[in-house]
């Protein structure tokens, strides 16, 4: 009986493998965002840099993608950092849900840079994120704040705007 209870509990505690699948899709979303944003005024590195803060799994998926895909003929380079001060020249900065408290600091450090800040927690557009993932009714969605895109001197495609939930 005790073994049955133990096995039952064990079966309940096994976490779903879906989190890696979610990271894969978020990586693909980031890749797609990159194709739908215009960094023509970007004067930094010739590589296309995505900086990831606080999500090892997503960084791993992005690194896998970087081996097989390019962004507008630029190599895709994935950097991982732990805090706002370490963030170097980037086209996209991704901030994980667990590190979302850093959002206002990142926004302040990056306010004059041509960068797309993507957060992984709903509501962070209010703190400076351009795009913010959220889940609703079992689906992955994203908020998008045109003001927070334009304030960084980059341009976003109408297609991307139409697919997100626009917030002011």
């Amino acid at each position: 009986m005790k073994k049955i209870v133990f096995l039952l509990l064990l079966s309940l505690m096994v976490t779903s493998p879906a989190s890696s699948q979610m990271s894969q899709f978020k990586a693909l979303f980031l890749f797609n965002f990159a194709k739908n944003v215009d960094w023509s005024d970007y004067g930094g590195t010739s590589d296309f840099v995505i900086t990831v803060i606080g999500n090892d799994e997503l960084a791993k998926e992005l690194k896998g993608l970087a081996k097989i895909r390019k962004i507008n003929n630029s190599n895709l380079v994935i950097k991982e950092v732990r805090n706002a001060e370490e963030v170097g020249d980037s086209h996209i900065i991704y901030l994980s849900a667990t590190q979302s408290s850093l959002m206002p600091i990142i926004a302040s450090y990056q306010k004059d840079n041509p960068v797309l800040i993507v957060a992984d927690k709903q509501g962070l557009c209010a703190q400076g994120a351009a795009i913010s993932f959220f889940t609703a009714n079992g689906k992955l969605k994203f908020e998008i704040c045109p003001r927070n895109v334009e304030s960084h001197g980059i341009k976003i495609s109408q297609r991307l705007l139409a697919l997100g939930s626009v917030v002011q």
Partner: protein, 804 residues
């Protein structure tokens, strides 16, 4: 009529529920599963989103986001991860509230660590954060109300500045309004102003957006004639304009019409045959019996001038209230947003009295309305609101009905300079109360006119992230009150240090204070006690110059997330609070004349003939309360089917410089000491040379190291939510309170430990409707949770939740 409306809503919801959810049929899940990353990366964004929709977000992912990666905004005045919060704080989401089956906001707070929730009568609760309740004890029941916690709805204080405390039934909002409830434990005056002594409860209402349900709500009905319901209608009109209307209703009855009367020596009930039944202690009586009870001298226990039917016009009703709210949001393109809300509530409860009768029960009626405007213009946040209406804090008791008005205005600026955040603010509050419209000619009210409290404040909060990880917070606030005419400072210093990504340690030192309350500053009530034991008159007077209750607290906290699906938290705290006060006897005076000697053979009659007058004044006490305690909590998403949560708090409060004398004991001492002077001064009295005797003598002895037993030493909660199949959810939580001994001025009562087990089973009919059965106190433990109040047993309900 109300029941018809209730049934109509249920019927509407059921009909709406049988519509079917459209689904995407263009791509199959199997096709997506066979695609490589390379193939997926070549999909345009709309196709990628369609593929993601087919795969779906796992329930585990959603639950983890919902329960483990919560946000909190009340601890730092901006949204942050609850895991990173510098203060002990908890966010209770609407989903968690729904799962718990809680039927009131107060009950839902049992899910929050550190919160003590005790039911007084069906649906009426005492709520305290961490304790320090019933101080000073051995006093009026009003001092058991929670004057240490500031409650806000969207940042608007909903607080009773007449006596201090939260009048829960006057909250205009219900579950249909609420997005989340945030609770900050520990002193937070530096962030929110006075009365955030032991914490803050911030109810945040749901914002309407394009994905909001047009109509949502719930209704349930059950035993003890309990009916609750709420409904919200929301609409996003586009162009940044949203509107919503909500309403909520509760009707709950007691399972008795009797009220508790405090025991008095020789208390008896005369019967029709000329005999009498003597009672040796307090107990429950019928209303008509209460009005006939007499003491050992044959004098009425209740006030003979009270109209019993006005005091208790419906003693079987525990709580009836409804509220209606409207919200308009305007968020135009640009940098400004505006949120306007307004509402009305009407309530009547029978719960613990805010007056001072010989019963622990009292009625309370309120009709209040409010308007609240919030504007965000860039980094500037402005808020102003007004709450007005009429409140009767003790129905049928002369002088307790008042017109009230509370005005608040605040401006705050959020300024982020790299790793430094500065948050300056100013605010003003005016609270005015007027009892004169409800006083007939010659009647004495509690205030006898319009009285006001004004508070002006300025604050600055600095939040700095040093070396990329050490977070340092300092918040300072200064408040200038008109009564007392003093400047008070409150502060908060906190630090948070991450240990890797999965652990946080934090420390807090903070000071907070209560505000002034109208009864403390402006009481002006003469109580004519004709026909009762002396003194004949008691005059209650406010004090415009006293010290506000102040607390200092140190807290250490630790959080760990050992895996992505579990978070554990521990906090230890120690506090020192002082400057307690109460309306206590200052002096007693006897009127002397030769006629009093005609009662020379009856000392009580002689004393009554002197028409003793006692002056009661609000005054500070030397009392000092020292508390140490610890809380632990856990949220664990074991799987997409099973969620476990628990919290437990232990505390010990020790009183120093505690005076054990009650108000009545001091009055009796003063009267007796004066009475003993009558005979030695008989000649002067007979000749008219002495017409008055007066004393302000009081016992001076104080007790140290006395354990305060009104607060339970241990309380907590364990909950499990299990979803065996997609359509069925079973949730259960047990709430435990250890033994408490409550003492007021008339009696003390020990309340046995209680474990309250609750359960709810929900069946999802379709995407739009769920039916449920809900059992509160399922084991029907029919004992009281609060001294001298009802034995609240099990309540069993059936209901329906809908959204369309």
């Amino acid at each position: 009529m109300k029941k018809f409306i209730f049934l109509f809503i249920l019927t509407f919801a059921c009909v709406a529920g049988f519509s079917q959810d459209p689904q995407n049929k263009e791509m199959t899940r199997e096709q997506v599963l066979t695609m490589s990353v390379d193939e997926l990366s070549q999909l345009p964004l709309e196709d990628l989103m369609a593929a993601m929709d087919l795969m779906g977000v796992s329930s585990m992912e959603e639950l983890t986001n919902l329960l483990i990666n919560k946000g909190v905004s009340s601890a730092s005045k901006r949204v942050e991860n609850a895991f990173d919060s510098p203060l002990a704080s908890t966010t209770l989401t609407k989903e968690e509230i729904e799962m718990s089956g809680a039927t009131t906001i107060e009950e839902a707070l049992r899910l929050v660590p550190g919160v003590i929730v005790r039911e007084k009568t069906n649906g009426n609760f005492d709520v305290h954060i961490r304790g320090l309740d019933n101080l000073p004890q051995k006093n009026m029941l009003i001092y058991s109300e929670n004057t240490n916690t500031l409650l806000m709805i969207d940042g608007r204080p909903v607080f009773n500045y007449v006596h201090g405390g939260i009048v829960w039934e006057t909250l205009p909002v219900g579950f249909a309004d609420i997005d989340r409830i945030e609770v900050v434990r520990g002193p937070a005056s530096a962030l929110y102003g006075p009365n955030a002594v032991n914490g803050v409860i911030n109810i945040l209402t749901e914002k309407t957006n394009a994905s909001s349900s047009l109509v949502s709500g719930s209704g349930q009905m059950g035993t003890q004639n309990t009916y609750t319901g709420d409904i919200a209608i929301r609409k996003d009109w586009g162009n940044g304009i949203t509107t919503s209307v909500t309403s909520n209703y509760q009707h709950r009855e007691r399972d008795t019409k009797e009220i508790y009367v405090f025991g008095k020596e020789g208390m008896s009930l005369p019967d029709n045959s000329g005999g009498r039944t003597v009672f040796d202690g307090g107990r429950f009586f019928q209303i008509d019996q209460y009005s006939r009870l007499v003491d050992a001298n044959g004098l009425s226990i209740s006030d003979p001038f009270d109209d019993i039917d006005e005091l208790f016009d419906d003693p079987g009703l525990a709580r009836e209230n409804y509220g209606i709210n409207g919200y308009v949001g305007y968020n135009p393109e640009g940098i400004a947003s505006f949120d306007l809300s307004g509402g009305y509530q009407n309530s009547y409860v029978n719960s613990s009295t805010l007056g001072d009768p010989p019963t622990s029960f009292g009625g309370r009626k309120s009709n209040t309305w409010y308007g609240n405007l919030q504007a965000a213009i860039g980094r500037l946040k402005l808020q102003t609101n007004y709450t007005g209406g009429t409140q009767n804090f003790a129905t049928g008791d002369q002088g307790f009905k008042i017109d009230m008005g509370q005005f608040n205005a605040s401006a705050e600026f959020d300024w982020q300079i790299k790793s430094l955040n500065l948050h300056p603010g100013v605010s003003f509050q005016n609270a005015s109360y007027d009892d004169s419209p409800y006083l007939k000619d010659g009647e004495s009210g509690y205030l006898n006119g319009k009285k006001e409290l004004n508070t002006l404040s300025a604050s600055l909060r600095a939040d700095y992230l040093a070396f990329g990880k050490l977070r340092l917070v300092a918040a300072l606030r200064a408040e200038k009150y008109n009564y007392p005419d003093k400047l008070y400072g409150s502060w908060q210093f906190a630090g948070t240090l991450p240990i890797g990504e999965r652990q946080r340690i934090r420390a807090v030192y903070s000071r907070a204070n209560r505000s002034s309350f109208i009864v403390n500053s402006h009481s002006n009530y003469t109580w004519d006690r004709e026909g009762r034991m002396p003194p004949r008159f008691i005059h209650f007077a406010g004090n415009e110059d006293y010290d506000l209750m102040t607390i200092d607290m140190i807290e250490l906290g630790y959080r760990i997330r050992p895996a992505s699906n579990i978070v554990l938290e521990a906090e230890v705290f120690g506090s020192d609070s002082r400057n307690y006060g109460a309306l206590m006897p200052a002096s007693t005076t006897l009127n002397l004349s030769p006629e009093i000697f005609q009662y020379a053979d009856n000392p009580i009659m002689m004393l009554m003939a002197t028409q003793p007058r006692t002056s009661i004044v609000y005054q500070n006490m030397e009392l000092d309360a020292r508390q140490i305690g610890a809380s632990i909590s856990m949220d664990w998403v074991l799987s997409s089917r099973l969620i476990a949560k628990m919290h437990a708090t232990w505390q010990k409060t020790t009183l120093q410089d505690f005076s054990s004398y009650t108000r009545d004991e001091i009055i009796e001492m003063q009267m007796m000491s004066l009475a003993q002077q009558i005979e030695p001064n008989a000649m002067e009295i007979m000749t008219g040379q002495l017409t008055e005797l007066s004393t302000s003598a009081k016992p001076e002895d104080l007790q140290d190291d006395l354990e305060h037993e009104s607060t339970p030493s241990l309380w907590g909660m364990v909950s499990l939510t299990y979803k065996p199949i997609e359509k069925v959810e079973i949730s259960s939580y047990g709430y435990y309170l250890s033994e408490q001994t409550f003492a007021n001025q008339y009696a003390s009562q020990t309340i046995d430990p209680k474990f309250i087990l609750n359960a709810k089973a929900t069946y999802k009919l379709n995407n739009f409707a769920k039916v449920f059965i809900n059992a509160r106190n399922i084991l029907n433990d029919n004992s009281n949770e609060f001294a001298f109040m009802d034995n609240v047993g099990g309540i069993y309900l059936v209901g329906l939740r809908f959204n369309y």
